[in-house]
């Protein structure tokens, strides 16, 4: 007993003393290029983010097999910010200033990105952010490889309004109560009204995070849909709450033929936790689907399943975003001949990298990329069947022209060197 206690005490004392001597990874070999991976591996967001950590490890391993970058091997540094937003900032600082990572791939939620933003600005480093988001932001140190609202929400609504999509006249905008759904719905509301949809034909509804009792909400949707006009639901419901939502939809007998639900946050990964038979025909809008039949995609899926040693492991949109982002970074570093943040930031715009759907995505001066938009319908096997796609790649626009406060703003980090330039007043806003 005494021994155990003393050892324990020793352990605790060591734990306490360790930060004072600046934590450093013991196995850090010389002469590698370190890349940070900042995705939650525990807590509420682990469900989505763990996959992204794995895909980054795979991409880095593949790059190393090809000889690394600039003749050096890449070394991934993985930390767990544990779905805790202040911890995100702390870990970002650790990755940059302690581990000397030259770029970081990470974050999922908007709040985690907002939390680390000041750190990246202060320490002048690079963040690749792979998730669809609400826009209204363009920072010099961040590269947004997920969809901006105009690369997901607007095309999805266009499709639903078209004859193929069912000529929808009545809209339910259902979302989780946080910034991404709020902004997306605001943009959509303005957009729908500009297309002549009456205010009484739009119902906007918010639920808390992790909401699980959808009985009332679903019956509300059902009642709203019984007005004789073709109704659709545009869902910005966040990860965890989706499974109970779709289960309730299926049980209350809302069929995609009657009231289709078009989701922006439901991908292959989320469907893997669901019995999709009652959900066939419900929609999702993404820039990538696992079912898209291209040689690049097949190779990627095969490599992924081999890497994770799981022949059933699915792929999804944010994974593709990391794939594009990582390849762009590699190209930029090779073009610049250095990993120096300033040089890489200046080199990245204009860099092109193949996406997995057969096109070439390009990094734009506003630090967003060009992407195709696909609408897929849920199939019985948990995959999506693409029913519509944009003819060309759509350039990402951080500032929505449908919102009064951002309609005059543009972002251009090449010519104007400004993320929020007011084209009417001709000034770069903010003192940053």
């Amino acid at each position: 007993m005494k021994v155990t206690r003393r050892t324990l005490l020793g352990g605790i004392a060591a734990t306490a003393a360790a930060p004072m001597v600046a934590p450093r990874r013991l196995w850090a070999a010389e002469d590698t290029i370190k890349v940070g991976i900042l995705h939650s591996l525990s807590g509420t967001m682990a469900i989505s983010e763990t996959t992204l950590k794995d895909v980054m490890l795979m991409l880095i391993a593949e790059q190393n097999a090809k000889g690394g970058v600039l003749g050096k091997k890449l070394e991934p540094v993985v930390v767990d910010p544990a779905s805790n937003w202040p911890l995100f900032a702390e870990k970002a600082r650790e990755l940059i200033s302690q581990d000397k990572c030259v770029a970081v791939f990470g974050c999922w939620t908007s709040v985690s990105r907002k939390s680390v933003l000041p750190v990246f600005k202060e320490l002048n480093n690079i963040l690749f952010y792979p998730v669809q988001y609400e826009g209204q932001e363009s920072e010099r140190n961040v590269f947004y490889t997920g969809a901006a609202p105009n690369q997901q929400a607007i095309p999805a609504v266009d499709y639903l309004m078209s004859a193929d999509g069912g000529s929808v006249k009545r809209w339910v905008l259902e979302g989780t109560d946080y910034v991404y759904p709020r902004t997306t719905n605001k943009i959509l509301e303005a957009y729908l009204k500009s297309k002549g949809v009456a205010a009484e034909d739009i119902m906007i509804n918010y639920t808390p995070f992790g909401f699980s009792d959808w009985q009332t909400e679903v019956s509300k949707i059902k009642a709203f849909g019984a007005a004789g006009k073709k109704t659709a639901v545009v869902s910005t419901i966040n990860g965890d709450a989706n499974v109970p939502f779709y289960k309730e939809l299926g049980n209350q007998g809302i069929k995609a033929e009657d009231i289709p639900v078009c989701a922006f946050s439901v991908g292959e990964e989320e469907l893997a936790g669901l019995d999709t038979k009652p959900l066939v025909g419900h929609l999702a809008a993404w820039n990538y689907f696992e079912s898209i039949d291209t040689p690049e995609n097949k190779a990627f899926i095969a490599a992924w399943q081999k890497f994770t040693n799981n022949p059933k492991r699915v792929t999804n949109d944010p994974m593709e975003a990391h794939y594009i982002g990582f390849n762009m970074w590699v190209k930029a570093v090779e073009k610049a001949g250095t990993t120096d943040a300033d040089k890489v930031i200046d080199t990245l715009p204009g860099i092109e990298a193949p996406n997995l759907t057969g096109g070439m995505s390009k990094m734009l001066p506003n630090h967003h990329i060009t992407k195709p938009v696909y609408i897929g319908e849920i199939q019985e096997d948990g995959q999506f069947d693409v029913v519509w796609k944009t003819p060309d790649l759509v350039p990402g626009e951080p500032w929505s022209p449908y919102l009064p406060e951002s309609k005059d703003l543009v972002s251009d980090w090449v010519g104007l060197k400004c993320g929020n330039y007011d084209k009417v007043k001709k000034v770069c806003l903010g003192g940053a």
């Binding site: 007993m1 155990t4 206690r5 003393r6 324990l8 005490l9 605790i12 734990t15 306490a16 360790a18 930060p19 600046a22 934590p23 990874r25 591996l41 525990s42 993985v78 930390v79 767990d80 910010p81 544990a82 805790n84 937003w85 202040p86 911890l87 900032a89 702390e90 870990k91 600082r93 650790e94 200033s97 302690q98 908007s110 709040v111 907002k114 939390s115 933003l117 000041p118 750190v119 600005k121 202060e122 209204q136 932001e137 109560d177 946080y178 910034v179 709020r182 902004t183 605001k186 808390p208 995070f209 919102l403 009064p404 406060e405 007011d422 000034v427 806003l429 903010g430 003192g431 940053a432």
Partner: protein
């Protein structure tokens, strides 16, 4: 546990304060003035954060350790103090936001608000914000406590309604309509009283301020608990009914200490926010408040210094483990909690002092152990 002594600063507190003083001297010197910067800026912010947690733990220990009120909602007071400071920092950004609106913070422009809601008035003035840091948590604690203690809600019932309080606030602050930035909370602060938050000197200053606040909080708490009032508090903790029958107005004592503790938590939150750069509703989550209880229990309940130590230990363990064992750190942390509870019933501090006592008096005096 918590035998009130006469001396204001006993040896335990003395050693801790000395350590704290050394820290406040060593860190700035090491960070700002020494060649090679043996104390990186990263560490400064980290230490500052730990010190805020420590102050919060002391606040909780004051009510739980000395008065038996197990609050599972102290995170709420911490967060409210943080929000009050965050609101000042938001106003301080002024026209440097992305939309360059001189009055409205970015997130309000973002959700289409045209004017500042009334409860944001005054937060552009630092003294007003400081007042609110104390007042908002204090008033909430006072009102909440006034009802709860008067109705003689005790034990787990009190714990659970404090949890309900912080949970309700969590949900409320999540709502974007509340005007506190919803889930994103308040971020992207630029400076405090004109000092650039990104500068190492500002960080060092904030860290030193946190150390001073922690020292102040400890001394204040020690002063309260060694006073006559402190003795009554311990009586309330150990035999509430008996104290009442002796003629003490138990609810007044409880109310006083609860409000004081909430204000201390608010100060901790206010110091925390500029150092971590974000305040968002997750600080209200019941799990966070439970963690505070764990710090105190781990360090040693009713010892004040132990509570501070516990907070620092757990937070440091988290920092190290999430970096070193990203996939398995929860096992390590969970095991630590279990082991400490079973093996160290008096907390780390108790075990430490027991160990020292044993070393001093070798063979015969074995019975010192709890």
């Amino acid at each position: 546990m918590g035998r009130p002594e006469k001396r204001l600063i006993d040896r335990r507190l003395g050693i801790f304060l000395a350590g704290l003083f050394l820290l406040t001297v060593a860190v700035p010197v090491g960070n700002l003035w020494m060649a090679g910067q043996p104390v990186p800026t990263y560490l400064v912010a980290l230490i500052g954060k730990y010190l805020c947690y420590a102050l919060l733990a002391v606040a909780l220990d004051l009510v739980w350790g000395y008065c038996g009120i197990l609050s599972l909602g102290h995170g709420a007071f911490f967060a409210l103090g943080g929000y009050a400071m965050g609101m000042y920092l938001m106003r301080e950004i002024g026209a440097r936001g992305v939309y360059a609106n001189p009055v409205l913070p970015d997130f309000m422009v973002f959700i289409g608000w045209k004017e500042l809601p009334w409860y944001w008035y005054g937060f552009d003035l630092f003294p007003f914000a400081l007042l609110m840091v104390l007042l908002v948590p204090g008033v909430l604690a006072f009102v909440f406590g006034w009802f709860a203690f008067r109705s003689r809600v005790t034990g787990v019932y009190l714990s659970i309604i404090t949890q309900a309080m912080t949970y309700a606030l969590l949900l409320a602050f999540f709502r974007n309509d509340m005007g506190f930035g919803g889930n994103n909370g308040l971020t992207d602060f630029k400076d405090i009283l004109g000092f650039d938050l990104a500068r190492p000197a500002t960080k060092v200053g904030l860290m030193m301020l946190s150390a001073v606040a922690l020292a102040g909080g400890l001394i204040l708490a020690r002063w309260v608990t060694t006073s006559r009032l402190g003795k009554v508090l311990v009586c309330v903790r150990d035999a509430e009914s008996r104290t009442r029958f002796l003629g003490y107005r138990v609810e007044h004592y409880k109310l006083f200490i609860f409000t004081l503790s909430a204000m201390m938590a608010g100060v901790a939150g206010a110091l925390y926010v500029p150092q971590v750069g974000i305040i968002n509703p997750s600080e209200f989550s019941p799990a966070n408040s439970i963690e505070i209880v764990i710090w105190v229990a781990l360090g040693g309940r009713g010892t004040l210094v132990g509570a501070a130590l516990g907070a620092i230990l757990v937070a440091a363990a988290k920092t190290i483990l999430t970096g070193a064992l990203p996939e398995a750190w929860l096992y390590a942390l969970g095991a630590l909690f279990i082991l400490v509870t079973i093996a160290l019933p008096t907390g780390v501090l108790g075990a430490l002092e027991g160990g020292i006592a044993r070393l001093k008096r070798p063979a015969p005096a074995q019975e010192v152990e709890a």
